[in-house]
Symmetry: C2
Subunit: 132 residues, 2 copies
DNA sequence: TAGGACCCTTGAGTGCACTCCAAGCAAGTA
DNA sequence: TACTTGCTTGGAGTGCACTCAAGGGTCCTA
């Protein structure tokens, strides 16, 4: 427990521009994520401004990982919905993540293949015997 | 030299639908590639239909590798132009491929990170202690 | 000579994942 | 009080990489 927290009894809250700075996601994107259901309805200040929690940041970090896997936004929304529905959706979530994992593995091996071709071409160019 | 070739003295030529079958690229995409300069002007039959050569197929295979690296179409076109310009562009081409190679390596390591997160989550779900 | 398969062109349309715009409210500072 | 900064909304716009439509030509077989 930090001093500030003990004093205020309030967990930290972040404005949209703080979250933008921490996550690298634009304010536009953050609002859009909320709108499409990729994250829960964010808490609001008395004047209606968003106040993100640490949990929101953690969720966004995980969503970021899903994004880098190449998972579509539609599938991420599906996943988010399953999480909101509760514990009984665990099997479906695992299935979704396993499917994604398989795709990532396939993608990595595709990239390794392409890497080999690039290496070969670059060696050709570096060597002298340059062709196409 | 195959028998057929010796007899006809003609290298094999492929129609657009043959190329579609061999490469998996749609006819639309093949025509579009030619239009934007991602491949040379394909030879035509006397009636104006495309006749692709083995060289064209090889080029398309290489372009396919570049595509899987995530290189943008604009950069691929740039590369194709450099190839058409001749031997004096070899250094620029190598530079372009090296930049791409670096991006691919970075992408692979991103994907490996994401894979670790997926493994962790899936284990959680499989374990029993399911959370979000 | 008719039918069907196959191909051509230009230009418009699609789906995705943002990204931006306009108009306006609220809080803090000079 | 006036100004600036930061935030709100719904809906429109953007860039990418295709993808399709319309209208027409050519070739082969019956």
């Amino acid at each position: 427990m930090s001093l500030t927290q003990t004093q205020t009894q309030m967990p930290p809250r972040y404005t949209i521009s703080e979250v933008e700075a921490r996550t690298g996601l634009s304010q536009h994107t953050l609002r859009w994520y909320e709108r499409i259901g990729l994250m829960r309805q964010v808490d609001r200040s008395h004047s209606g401004q968003r106040r993100f929690s640490d949990g929101d940041l953690q969720w966004l970090a995980f969503v970021g990982k899903l994004r880098t896997t190449g998972m579509s936004v539609a599938d991420m929304v599906r996943y988010a919905e399953l999480v909101r529905e509760g514990e009984h959706t665990v099997d479906q979530r695992r299935e979704l993540l396993e499917r994604t994992r398989n795709e990532v593995r396939a993608r990595i091996s595709e990239l390794n293949d392409a890497l080999a071709v690039l290496d070969f071409k670059i060696d050709l160019y570096t060597g002298k015997a340059a062709r196409q």
